[in-house]
């Protein structure tokens, strides 16, 4: 028996050594917050922090392993100081990419993950290596979008054809993610880096039109990853790359939710569909621009809420030795299309984000960021708040990665 245990332990130990790769990252910040209360604290401000102070901004571990057959898995676990759920999984996937010598190849993955729409979220755990406060588009994807999905991709690396161009086509089907669009319709776009965890609950202000029993009677939170109607959603994507210098990605996402579906928490299905185009061009090894444009619509109930939304950003980033300087401009808008006058959904705004990040060595990074936005949300009036507000947030961040 001892021998069996010994052998088992030996195998486990050697498997551990050979197999699992552990990456991690932690960020601690000092924030000078805006005076508007954040949606995370049930306010209507669109920045993550409500008070000045010291915070754990990010803490995550990524476990991954790959096998000779082309099978691999990865899992990202996060800790967040902010929000309702503090500890959980943000991504988990199993991928299969067979070894191939063909000009056109295929791969597949299954799990809970992001479609590869973003060219901003390139760092471990889907973080942005450029700014701490992410674009309005990817802040939203991080908080509301993800689903148990099965994704299939055909691709052709330029190298296989002795060509400068690589391409890929992706199609996926997914369950759940039915409440996608709730936050956009009521809170509007926000700018932050908090990704919702697997069973997370994202709060927002208790707008009377939303929470009152004689109105929509919806809780002042959303759990974005629920399955409510049994329908499958899908997304389609296409990537075109010129070497690794220029990248273009197009995605169409449609959760196919039944807008009349509702669960015991009174969370609704929101039929959300959108297009996303992301572009990156590197002028040199040190200088790049990244841009993304997103446009779509969501509807809930019998057009109780029906909105169009669109947003774009342009990010410029330049690296001098170990110093990375980035500046991003965001513009975002949610436009009401329904006729329910007592539930206002119009919101819009623009933002500037400036960041400096300095790699002291391969583990430690120091950074400063300043963010300014001006935004407008009609439904603040119902809470006796001014509809328009300008917000500012500064932070100093120390990051350790291993």
């Amino acid at each position: 028996m001892k021998i069996i245990w010994g052998l088992l332990f030996y195998h486990l130990a050697s498997w551990q050594i050979l197999a699992v790769e552990v990456k991690g990252l932690a960020q601690v910040n000092y924030v000078l917050a805006d005076r508007q209360t954040s949606w995370l604290d049930n306010g209507t401000g669109i920045l993550a922090y409500s008070k000045n102070g010291l915070n754990v901004q990010q803490a995550l571990v990524e476990l991954s392993d790959s096998f000779a057959s082309g099978l691999s898995y990865s899992l990202v676990a996060n800790y967040y100081q902010t929000g309702e759920q503090n500890l959980g999984i943000s991504q988990a996937q199993i991928a299969y990419k067979p070894l191939s010598n063909s000009r056109v190849r295929w791969r597949t993955r299954a799990g809970f993950f992001y479609p590869k729409m973003s060219l901003e979220n390139l760092d471990t755990g889907w973080l942005s290596p450029f700014t701490y406060t992410q674009s309005a588009i990817n802040s939203w994807l991080g908080e509301e979008l993800r689903a148990p999905a099965l994704e299939f991709t055909v691709y052709s690396p330029g190298r296989a054809r002795n060509s400068a161009y690589s391409w890929q086509l992706t199609a996926a089907a997914f369950k759940a993610n039915d409440p996608l669009g709730t936050l956009l319709s009521w809170r509007g776009f926000a700018l932050h880096d908090r990704q919702s965890l697997h069973n997370d609950k994202v709060p927002f202000a208790a707008y009377p039109s939303v929470v009152q029993q004689d109105r929509i009677f919806h809780p002042s939170y959303v759990e974005p990853f629920h399955e409510l109607d049994g329908r499958l959603g899908f997304y389609l994507g296409a990537h075109l790359d010129y070497f690794s210098q220029t990248n273009l990605r197009y995605y169409y996402y449609d959760n196919q939710a039944d807008p009349l579906a509702v669960n015991y928490q009174r969370l609704y299905g929101w039929r959300t569909k959108f297009h996303s185009i992301a572009f990156q061009h590197k002028f040199s090894q040190s200088t790049r621009i990244i841009s993304q444009w997103l446009s779509g619509s969501t509807t809930m109930g019998e057009r109780v809420v029906d909105v169009d939304f669109n947003a774009w950003y342009l990010l410029f980033s330049h690296k001098v030795v170990q110093h990375r300087l980035s500046i991003r401009f965001d513009q975002f808008k949610v436009k009401e299309q329904d006729l329910v006058v007592w539930d206002a959904n119009n919101s819009d705004g623009y933002a500037y984000t400036f960041a400096w990040r300095y790699n002291m060595d391969k583990h430690w990074q120091l950074g400063l960021e300043h963010h300014i936005n001006h935004n407008n949300a009609e439904n603040r009036a119902a809470l006796s708040l001014p509809q328009e507000m300008s917000q500012q947030q500064s932070m100093a961040v120390i990051q350790y990665r291993w």
Binding site: S66, G70, L99, P129, Y155, R159, A160, A164, S244, Q245
Partner: protein
């Protein structure tokens, strides 16, 4: 005794050897770097057929001790082109902080190798001559070549298109190989006689090179580009 014999052999070779210079030029007369140039023996003046076999045997043994290196640095194979003699061991270290999954479908050596960071994979023996094209299943942009030769007389041209090879006097076939050369390489083969005289052999390519994708392939410090 064996050492003494090898020493004598080396001395005898050196007295009968000569360094030759080779320059590879494109149709515009511009130097072509990173071209493998090699010489195959037609008739060596290092006679004594007996010693020749022994030399080969010795070389064969020595090769087992000698390990060539194909590293992974910044998500690229370094060197991009590695020329080795048949029966050389090649080590595949991983200097990156990410995992690699190196593979080859080439006839000269078909293999796959998982390269975890901070872990050393055992070296591989390349016992068949020919071209081995390397890829990485995690990073589709990675491309590398191992050119396995039947001869011990080979070099790669430097930035100035120059290569220098020291070899025994005799008659050889001078050949070249590069993934960018579009000429039929057999038309570039020259028969040369290595004598005690200093020699420079120009290899003039007739066709323009293929675009150098490797040089263009900028490395990105962020990895999510598959």
């Amino acid at each position: 005794m064996i050492r003494l014999y090898v020493l004598c052999l080396l001395l005898s070779v050196s007295s009968l050897s000569q360094a030759i210079n080779i320059k590879v030029l494109d149709p515009d007369g511009k130097a072509v770097p990173n071209v493998v140039v090699y010489l195959e023996v037609l008739d060596s003046k290092v006679n004594e057929p007996q010693s020749d076999t022994i030399t080969r045997a010795k070389v064969g043994e020595a090769l087992m001790d000698q390990v060539a290196v194909m590293d992974q640095i910044d998500t690229q194979f370094k060197p991009h082109i590695l020329a080795i003699q048949k029966n050389t061991l090649v080590k595949f270290p991983n200097s990156d902080s990410v995992k690699h999954h190196v593979y080859s479908f080439s006839k000269a050596k078909t293999f796959e190798l998982q390269l975890y960071k901070n872990l050393q994979a055992d070296p591989l023996l390349f016992s068949k001559s020919g071209l081995v094209v390397l890829g990485c299943n995690i990073h589709d942009g990675m491309l590398g070549y191992i050119y396995v030769l039947d001869t011990q007389y080979f070099a790669k041209t430097n930035k100035l298109g120059d290569a220098k090879i020291e070899l025994p006097l005799g008659k050889y076939q001078l050949k070249v190989w590069s993934p960018l050369v579009r000429d039929d390489v057999s038309t570039l083969t020259q028969v040369i006689e290595v004598t005690k005289k200093q020699q420079l052999h120009n290899i003039n390519l007739q066709k323009a090179l293929l675009p150098n994708l490797y040089e263009y392939e900028a490395v990105d410090e962020f990895s999510d580009y598959e």
